[in-house]
Amino acid sequence: MDPVRASAREIARAVNAGEVSAAEIADTMIPHVAAVDEHLGAYLTLTPDLMRAHARRIDERVAAGEVLPLAGVPAAIKDNMCLLGTRTTCASRILEEWIAPYTATAVERLLAAGALPIGKTNMDEFAMGSSGENSALGKTRNPYDLDRVPGGSSAGSAAAVGGLAATISTGSDTGGSIREPAAFCNVVGFKPTYGRVSRYGLIAFASSLDQIGPFGRSVEDVALAYDAMGGHDPMDATSVDRPFEPAAGHLREDLRGVRIGIVKEFTTADLAPDVAAAYEAAYADLAKLGAELVEVELPTAKYGLSTYYLIAPAECSSNLARFDGVRYGLRVDGADVGEMYEKTRAAGFGPEVKRRILIGTYALSSGYYDAYYVKAQKARTRIADDYRRAFAKCDVIASPAASSPAFTFNAKSDPYSMYLMDYYTIPVSLAGLPSLSVPCGSALPEGGSRAMPLGLQLASPLFTERALLGYAHAYERATMHAAKLAPVQVVTS
């Protein structure tokens, strides 16, 4: 078994069977990841000592007779999730030197299930962005074309898994930050229902939308990681206290009897011709697997972007008020406390974060609150209602995950053109639905020399994660699109 290419399931099986030790996996992965990451830039911090220490503990537990679902599986952690004793930066100058004093619940659970922490991954600063370019601390490249972006905000987590520098990883998704980079990097990325995975230890961006979820190279690996991370946590008052249905081992092989909604308003006419053709082929493949395709209407989905770009910045302006130079992170001295706040935040935040804080502060300010914030919250109700109506006619909705394949660096200099990347993911987030992106083919991007991956977004009703992963699994097994592309070979091994 080659731990660089193996699935999480294969690695865990081999470690649990005593065929290979977690320590040996760590010994293979540590130099491999260091070499690959010279070119990829997926990681902000590598944690080889911690990985070895965890590997020893996993080997002891397996020797004592425990069977661990993720035994010895190399895992990358997005750098907005706390990991005790490790730098946790949100890819921001304001937290550049901050060491987490505790571990996030989702990360803790992943490690308890046997995963080995490789390091912390790069991201758009405070998870605000769709390309990874808003990181203040590094540049992550797309493993399928190093001149293109990996997507964002979970840039490094998607690039690491797609570039064979991790087996699984954690991401967070507010408006598409797991699904869009998954599509760009030829991996599966899964955002569970809002409230399904604890956010204790996740540095908040927009609290009514943020959700943690996994990346993997197969639906099955994503299901294993989700099963480990999910479930109620008393430390997060918004985590949902209802029975958790594990998904791994319950994934279906066909789509017989499944009604798949194709959204009337999401016409493929807006997409580049070969991108549109790939999605039309994906829908046809779903039908070939036995699914019934039904047209559904989401007339308010087109208001998703406007709704999101009022609600998310409003919540961000409130959440990021805590970065004031007093309790953690950067401080720039000033003549008085007000000047200290203003200078610290000016020096610590990058342009996109400042932009969103300004939008949010404006939308929440006296005289504008009803016209913007409350209006957006009402629009959100209409959008969620549309999905409820659509799910009366279908079990799951299929659409593109992003409006194009990965683009080149600096291609989206106008902020709004970047926001448009998340046109298909944002309405789903506003409705809180479980959703994922699964590889569905490729297209040659404008001016590109390599075919770049595309992702099919599937979204299903609240708390139907097991069914959703099952549909994706059946599609993946039948099409095997991910295997048709290979990442750029950056090291000879």
């Binding site: 406007s306 935040r345 902020p415």
Partner: protein, 98 residues
């Protein structure tokens, strides 16, 4: 609602962000551009529609009123930019009255 000029300096003051004149100019233009885009929400009828703050039905969560372990004081203070005697040191907040 998006036609008037935005007092970016005033918004920045509320947000506790020191901005240069260049930034005021740039962010001001981008903010106005975004507000023009979100103006499409006016076309969406939301009369008699309740606002959604959270998509999952949630209720207040209480825990038993018992002391449980929490982070060690030293671990928390280790991340502070200017700790002093176990406290967060800040510039003087209370002005002297003359």
């Amino acid at each position: 609602m998006a036609t008037e000029r935005i007092d970016v300096r005033g918004v920045a003051r509320l947000a506790r962000l020191a901005l240069s004149d260049d930034e005021i100019e740039r962010y001001g233009a981008q903010l106005e551009d975004l507000l023009q885009h979100v103006d499409d929400l006016k076309q969406l009828d939301t009369s008699d529609v309740p606002a959604t703050a959270q998509v999952i039905e949630s209720r207040n969560v209480m825990r038993p009123d018992v002391i449980v372990p929490c982070l060690a004081h030293a671990a928390v203070m280790a991340g502070a930019p200017q700790p002093q005697h176990g406290f967060f040191r800040v510039p003087k907040i209370i002005a002297e009255v003359e």
